[in-house]
Amino acid sequence: MHSSEEHVLGFRPLALVLAALLVLTGVTVWVAGFDFGFLNVLVAMSVASTKAALVVFFFMHLKYEGRALQLMVLTVFILLAIFIGFTFFDVAYR
C-alpha cells in the first residue's frame, strides 16, 4: 500500500508546459480584444481552465497520482461549480 512508485517529470516536459501556459496567456489577452458579447466570459474562462488543467495535471503531478485522489479533485471542482451555479437559481431569476 505504501508503494514508492514515484514518477519524476523531466525538465523538458515541464518546460513544454511552461511554454504552453505562456502561449495561452498571450491567447487570452489577445482574444479579450474581441467582443463576443456574453460569450466573453465563457471564452476567458475556458482558456483559464485549460491553463489550470495544465498546472494541475503536470506541475502538480495529478496525472501520476492514484485514482482516488483524481476523483477527489474532480469532486471538489464539481462542488465549486455547484456552489456557484446553484446560487444562480437565485440571482439569475430575481
Binding site: M1, H2, A68, L79, F83, F86, F89, D90, Y93, R94
Partner: protein, 557 residues
C-alpha cells in the same frame, strides 16, 4: 495476559503535577487528545446549558423578567455560538472519533498526530477568544449565531472578535476532518477492507468530507464580516452595489452541511450500538454506509432552504425545496434499517440501547418537522418562529445530544475500564426524555401560533406554552445532573470491566480497557466483519442469556 500493559491514562511514574498536565496537553496520543476534546467540550456545554436555562427563565412570562433586551440578545447569540461551534460540531468526531477511529480500523494513531494536537490547541484558542469577546470591546455580540448582514455590520458590539473565534474554530474542525480522511485511506490494518469498516467510521468519513469542503466557506464568510466591519469593504452594502442576500447564501453553504456534521457521527454511533445490543448483524450495512455519503453529498445542495422568505427568486425556492426533500430519503433509509435491525434480535435493554432508542424517537420527530420546513408554502408561515427552534433542538439535542450520551454509556467502560450504575443511567435517560418533550414540544405549538424566535418579550397569547416549556427545562436539567453524576462516579469508582463487557465485535473490544498507549500489542489482522458476533460472549452478567429462557418462537431463524 501475563505482563501488565500501561494504559494510556496512566501518567509517567513519579512526575510532578505540572509534568503530568504537560503529558496531557502536549500529548500526541489520539486517545488523550480525544479526552482533552471531551473535557473542553463538556465545559463549553455546561456554559451553553446555563445560557439556555437563562433564556427559558426570561421567557417564563411576557415582558422583562430577569434581563433586558440587550442582555437577552447577547445571551441567545452566545448560546447558539457556543452550542453550535464549540459543542455539537466538534462533539462526537473530535472526542469519540479521535479516541475510537484509529482503534476501530486497527491503527496505532491518526495519520498526523501533531496536527491533531494542533487542532485541539486551535479549538482552545477559538473558545478562549470567544470568551474574551464577552468582556472586551463594546459588550458581547448580539447578532444571533447567523451573523446576518447588514445588522452584524451595524451593531457596535464585539462582533469582530467573536467572528475571529468562529474562523479559528472552523480551522480546527477542518484539520480534524483532514486527519480522519487520510487516516481512513492510509492506515487501515491488514484485512480491514472498506466493506468491513464499522459504520461509525463510515459516518466519520462522510462527516470529514463535509468538514473539509464546507468549513472553508464559513471561513471566508467570517473573513468578509471582518473586512466589512474593519475595512469598510462594502461587499454586502446595497448602497454600494452589494447584496445582503448573497451573504446568506455564503453562510448557509456552510451552515446547512454543518448540521450534517452534527448528526452523521451520531447516526454512526447508533448504527454501531444497535447490533451489539440486539446481537444481530446490522440490517442493510451497505445501504447505511452509502446513505451517509448520500447525505453528505445531497446535503451540500440544499442550503437555501433557510432563505425561503429572504426575497430570493421563486425559482430558487422551487429547486431548493425539492432538493431538501431528497436529503430526507437517506435519513429515512437509516431509520428503517435501524428498526429492522431490532427485528428478531436478541435484545438486551442496557443503558446504551435506551439512549439509542430515545435518539431514534427524538431524531424522527425532529426530522419529520424538518419536512414541514422544507416544504415551501408551510415554511413561509413557520420560518423564524419557535417551530424552527423546536425542530433544531429535536435534531441537535435529541439527535446529536442523545447520540453523544449513547456513545458515553457505550464506550465509557472502554475508556476508563469501569462501569457506571445502570439503574441511574436508565432513570436519567427517561427523565431527560420526558423533560425534553415538555421543554421543546410546546415550541412547535408556539411556532404554529406565530411566535417569532429571538424575542425577549412576547404577546400575551403565548404565555401558557412558554411557561410549560420553562418548567420542562428544569426537568431536563435534573436528568442531566443525574446522568453526569452517575457517569463521573462510575468512571472513578465503578466496578472494573474487562476487554469486552458488551460483546462487541469491532476492534476496540479486542484490546484492554482502558487501552494501552499504542492500542494494539501486535498489529491486528482483521478477519471478521464488525457486526459478526458469532463466538463472542458479553462479559456483563446482565447481558447473558438467562438459563432456560427459551420460548417457543424464539431460537434460530
Amino acid at each position: 495476559m501475563t505482563q501488565h500493559v500501561a494504559s494510556f491514562l496512566e501518567a509517567p511514574a513519579g512526575a510532578g503535577w505540572l509534568r503530568r498536565v504537560g503529558t496531557w496537553i502536549f500529548s500526541t496520543d489520539h486517545k488523550r487528545i480525544g479526552l482533552l476534546y471531551f473535557y473542553s467540550i463538556a465545559a463549553m456545554f455546561a456554559v451553553g446549558v446555563i445560557l439556555g436555562l437563562l433564556i427559558r427563565l426570561e421567557l417564563i412570562a411576557p415582558g422583562e423578567t430577569i434581563m433586558g433586551a440587550q442582555t437577552y440578545n447577547a445571551v441567545f447569540t452566545l448560546h447558539g455560538v457556543v452550542m453550535i461551534f464549540m459543542v455539537v460540531i466538534p462533539s462526537i468526531p473530535a472526542a469519540f472519533g479521535n479516541i475510537f477511529l484509529p482503534i476501530q480500523i486497527g491503527a496505532e494513531d491518526v495519520a498526523f498526530p501533531r496536527l491533531n494536537l494542533f487542532s485541539w490547541w486551535l479549538y482552545m484558542a477559538g473558545a478562549s477568544l470567544a470568551v474574551v469577546s464577552l468582556f472586551t470591546g463594546n459588550g458581547p455580540p448580539d447578532t444571533g449565531w447567523t451573523f446576518y448582514v447588514p445588522f452584524s455590520n451595524v451593531t457596535t458590539t464585539n462582533v469582530d472578535l467573536a467572528v475571529l473565534a468562529v474562523f479559528i474554530l472552523g480551522f480546527s474542525s477542518i484539520l480534524t476532518g483532514l486527519n480522519f480522511i487520510i487516516t481512513i485511506h492510509r492506515l487501515r490494518a491488514e484485512g480491514m477492507t472498506w466493506g468491513r469498516l464499522p459504520l461509525f467510521v463510515w459516518s466519520l468519513y462522510a462527516t470529514a468530507w463535509i468538514q473539509l469542503l464546507a468549513t472553508p466557506v464559513l471561513g471566508i464568510t467570517a473573513l468578509l464580516i471582518m473586512a466589512e466591519r474593519m475595512l469598510g469593504m462594502g461587499l454586502f452594502d446595497p448602497a454600494r452595489g452589494g447584496d445582503p442576500i448573497l451573504y446568506q447564501h455564503l453562510f448557509w453553504i456552510y451552515s446547512h452541511p454543518a448540521v450534517y456534521i452534527m448528526i452523521l457521527p451520531a447516526m454512526g454511533v447508533i448504527s454501531d450500538i444497535l447490533p451489539v445490543f440486539c446481537r444481530k448483524h446490522i440490517f442493510g450495512y451497505t445501504a447505511i454506509a452509502i446513505s451517509s455519503i448520500g447525505i453528505a453529498l445531497a446535503g451540500s445542495l440544499v442550503w437555501a432552504h433557510h432563505m425561503f422568505t429572504s426575497g430570493m427568486s421563486d425559482t430558487a425556492v422551487l429547486v431548493f425545496s425539492l432538493l431538501t426533500f431528497i436529503v430526507a430519503i437517506p435519513s429515512a433509509v437509516k431509520v428503517f434499517n435501524w428498526v429492522a435491525t431490532m427485528y428478531k434480535g436478541s435484545i438486551a435493554l442496557e443503558p446504551p440501547l435506551w439512549y439509542a432508542m430515545a435518539f431514534i424517537v427524538l431524531f424522527s420527530i425532529g426530522g419529520l418537522t424538518g419536512l414541514v420546513l422544507g416544504s415551501a408554502g408551510t415554511d413561509i408561515h413557520v420560518h423564524d418562529t419557535y417551530f424552527v427552534v423546536g425542530h433544531f433542538h429535536y435534531v441537535i439535542f435529541g439527535g446529536t445530544g442523545f447520540g453523544m450520551f449513547a456513545a458515553l454509556h457505550y464506550w465509557l467502560p472502554k475508556v476508563y475500564g469501569r462501569m457506571y450504575n445502570k439503574f441511574w443511567a436508565v432513570a436519567a435517560c427517561l427523565i431527560m426524555f420526558a423533560g425534553f418533550h415538555v421543554l421543546y414540544f410546546p415550541m412547535f405549538l408556539l411556532g404554529m401560533d406565530g411566535m417569532p424566535r429571538r424575542y425577549y418579550d412576547y404577546l400575551p397569547q403565548y404565555t401558557d406554552m412558554h411557561e410549560l416549556s420553562t418548567v420542562g427545562s428544569w426537568l431536563l436539567a435534573v436528568g442531566l445532573v443525574i446522568m453526569t453524576a452517575n457517569l463521573v462516579t462510575g468512571m472513578r469508582l465503578g466496578r472494573r470491566v474487562k476487554n469486552n463487557p458488551w460483546g462487541g465485535a469491532s476492534l476496540e473490544w479486542t484490546i484492554p480497557s482502558p487501552p494501552p498507549t499504542h492500542n494494539f500489542l501486535e498489529e491486528p489482522v482483521v478477519e471478521r466483519g464488525p457486526y459478526d458476533f458469532a463466538g463472542i460472549e458479553p462479559e456483563e452478567p446482565s447481558m447473558r442469556v438467562p438459563a432456560g429462557a427459551t420460548k417457543p418462537g424464539g431460537g434460530e431463524a
